[in-house]
Amino acid sequence: KETFDGHQVLRIIPRDEIQLSVIKALEDIIEFELDFWRGVTDVAVPVDVRVPFHSLQSIKIYLETQDIEYSIMIEDLQVMLDEEREEMEAAAR
């Protein structure tokens, strides 16, 4: 079973058209293995992206150097998934 230890979901807010295109370019970088939960749409509209642990540092540095605002929407995805699973099992019992 695939686990998501250390994966974070970042909420990124593009401030202008340039930042929008920078974030959009991330979609094409396969090695980061990013999973866009909410895709790039417009300026000031949040983009939610699941970032694997191995790409976290690179992505955060990249966003910071581009002066792109982001926040951590989900700190550790696996923790949430574990809670979800435990809740399902408890309810089933």
Binding site: K1, F4, V9, R38, V40, T41, M73, I74, A91, A92
Partner: protein, 310 residues
């Protein structure tokens, strides 16, 4: 196992077997209202079940609702299950729903992507696509919401099998999509088609593949506004609304672009809760509130459809 749908726990997430069992129980309990149609099979051989809610008649105009085409969007399959129970509970009690079902049939596909849904429970909770292998690629699956013959292959879908928005080798290549296409065409009398996704709280109408507004843009826009107003009346959940391309992004090969081009005027797609705390991992205690508020919007669309024959 619950003995009947009355003891089914709608406030938690269920496996595919539990949902299949729920469907069979609902049919058994309501033989004069509900029947199950198997419109095809998934790549891994699972039944593509559609519940038909009908009070009789032949070739009646109909409304289609599907949930779970993106398998990880668990609140949609859970809401679909709740909708099914709501229909049988409210028929004969709620005058608006009774009026709809006295004139039209409702078809509900709760698990539109069953292989993906099973995979989310057993292998990868974040799986979104179908499960068919792609020859020559290490990556499996196709995005079934980019696989329809509506601007297929255009911008807003990927040709890379490893992408979450991989469109597939050709339009309707996925049995999960082709089965709906064949069913909708053979039925020939669908008047509304509502495809339900999560998350980000939006109600959208065509198009996604082109900026050209649909012919019925003004009516669809006004109806979307009414639907989200009704939705918000319950818990204050705020939705955006508009065409796909203007509200989310350009997306080619999408479900409701195809249905609209087939002549189904009231074609809508939802993005249910939430706004950005849990994403696809919406806690189970939000299933029923989500389903309840969405039901109000569905009723607005279904009511409008029955009152405005075309």
């Amino acid at each position: 196992q619950p003995r009947g749908t009355d003891s089914f726990d709608f406030s938690r997430y269920h496996t595919i077997d539990e949902i299949y069992s729920f469907q069979d129980m609902l049919v058994a309990e309501n033989p004069n209202l509900v029947s199950k149609i198997v419109i095809g099979h998934s790549y891994e051989g699972r039944s593509l079940n559609v519940l038909k809610f009908s009070t009789g008649g032949t070739s009646r105009p109909a409304i289609w609702i599907d949930t779970g085409i993106h398998s990880r969007e668990w609140v949609t399959q859970a809401s679909g299950t709740w909708f099914a129970k709501k229909i049988v509970t409210d028929y004969g009690r709620d005058p608006a729903l009774t009026n709809i079902l006295d004139k039209m049939d409702i078809f509900l596909e709760i698990v539109t992507n069953p292989d993906g849904y099973h995979f989310t429970h057993n292998n990868n909770r974040m799986w979104r696509k179908t499960r068919k292998p792609n020859p020559g690629s290490r990556c499996d699956g196709v995005d079934p919401n980019r696989n329809w013959d509506a601007g297929f292959g255009g911008p807003g879908a990927s040709g890379n099998p490893c992408s979450e928005t991989y469109r597939g080798p050709k339009a309707h290549s996925e049995s999960e999509v082709k089965s709906i296409v064949d069913f909708v065409k053979s039925h020939g009398n669908f008047k509304a088609f509502i495809s339900i996704h999560s998350y980000s709280q939006m109600l959208l109408y065509p198009y996604g593949y082109t900026r050209t507004p649909v012919r019925d843009r003004d009516e669809l826009h006004a109806l979307a506004k009414k639907a989200i107003t009704d939705l918000a009346s319950l818990y204050g959940t705020r939705y955006k609304y508009g065409s796909i391309i203007n509200t989310i992004y350009q997306a080619s090969g999408g479900t409701i672009d195809w249905t609209y081009n087939q002549g189904i005027k009231y074609s809508y797609t939802f993005e249910l809760r939430d706004t950005g705390r849990y994403g696809f991992v919406l806690p189970a205690n939000q299933i029923i509130p989500t389903a309840e508020e969405t039901w109000l919007a569905l009723m607005a669309i279904m009511n409008h459809t029955v009152r405005n024959p075309y």
